[in-house]
């Protein structure tokens, strides 16, 4: 029985990264949700509460780590869906570059935003 082969190369690092970031997300997202609901009575809703919460350096690092992991996982997933269209290897490399740029921009924005929010508390 002849097995028909597709053009896919065996590229399993993306799968493993998906799995690892996914597992980390179960923890990080769980933490994020618990904190949003329980760190302050009634949930983290008031502006002052949010600023105070994010001003804690450990919290800041945790939220940035969460953003990095979630963005990475998300863009790896987008990559998988796009690559499923069956593109030429050169096109796939271009997609990789674009997604990496989007990832870097997203994380950079998130870090800038977090720092700006914390700075609000010092006004």
């Amino acid at each position: 029985m002849e097995k028909s082969l597709t053009r896919e190369r065996a590229s399993s690092w993306s799968w493993i990264l998906q799995a690892v970031t996914g597992a980390l997300l179960i923890v990080l997202l769980g933490l994020h949700m618990v904190v949003q609901h329980f760190v302050v009575a009634g949930g983290l809703r008031k502006f002052a509460d949010v600023v105070a919460y994010l001003s804690n350096p450990f919290v800041f690092l945790l939220e940035v780590a969460f953003l990095i992991v979630v963005t990475w996982h998300a863009l790896l997933g987008v990559r998988a869906i796009i690559f499923d269209l069956g593109l030429k290897p050169t096109t796939e490399r271009k997609v990789d570059v674009v997604l990496t740029v989007i990832g870097v921009l997203t994380v950079s924005y998130g870090i800038w935003l977090s720092a700006t929010i914390v700075a609000q508390g010092r006004i």
Binding site: S4, A19, F47, T71, I81
Partner: protein, 133 residues
């Protein structure tokens, strides 16, 4: 004697994964995974846009929080939670199977994780809407 086997390229339609006619639960799980993924990626960027209101100032943020307490918004929150649960639990199953854990009982795992998703979704709905009285 050498046998030359030329690999036949599989004919693919780009969106053929989304056609569920005649497919079984495994394919349904695959589609749920992808659709929830797309939804969650869109949510990720939406969330960052919304959080940008915090940089604008307390007034802008309070305006948003007021909106966020409306029943319509809570309904969207519930859709988000269901999407997170479906994607996360399904993903957990895929991760376990991918690392060789539970493979002989995969069929059961699919149904167990589906049941978990449904139960947690109902609990979330109760939690969200009991608070919104």
């Amino acid at each position: 004697m050498s046998v030359e086997v030329k690999p036949k390229p599989v004919e693919r339609k780009p969106a053929q994964w989304i056609n569920l006619r005649g497919r079984r639960i495994g394919m349904w799980a695959y589609v749920v995974m992808r659709l929830s993924a797309i939804g969650l990626v869109l949510y990720l960027f939406l969330h960052l846009v919304i959080l940008s209101q915090l940089a604008v100032g307390p007034a802008a943020w309070d305006d948003f929080v007021r909106l966020a307490k409306s029943p319509a918004f809570l309904a969207l929150d519930l859709i988000l939670i269901v999407g997170i649960l479906a994607h996360g639990l399904n993903g957990l199953r895929l991760g376990l199977i991918g690392f060789g854990i539970g493979v002989p009982r995969h069929k059961i795992m699919v149904w167990v994780f589906l049941a978990l998703t449904v139960v947690l979704s109902i609990l979330s709905a109760l939690a969200i809407f009991s608070e919104a009285k």
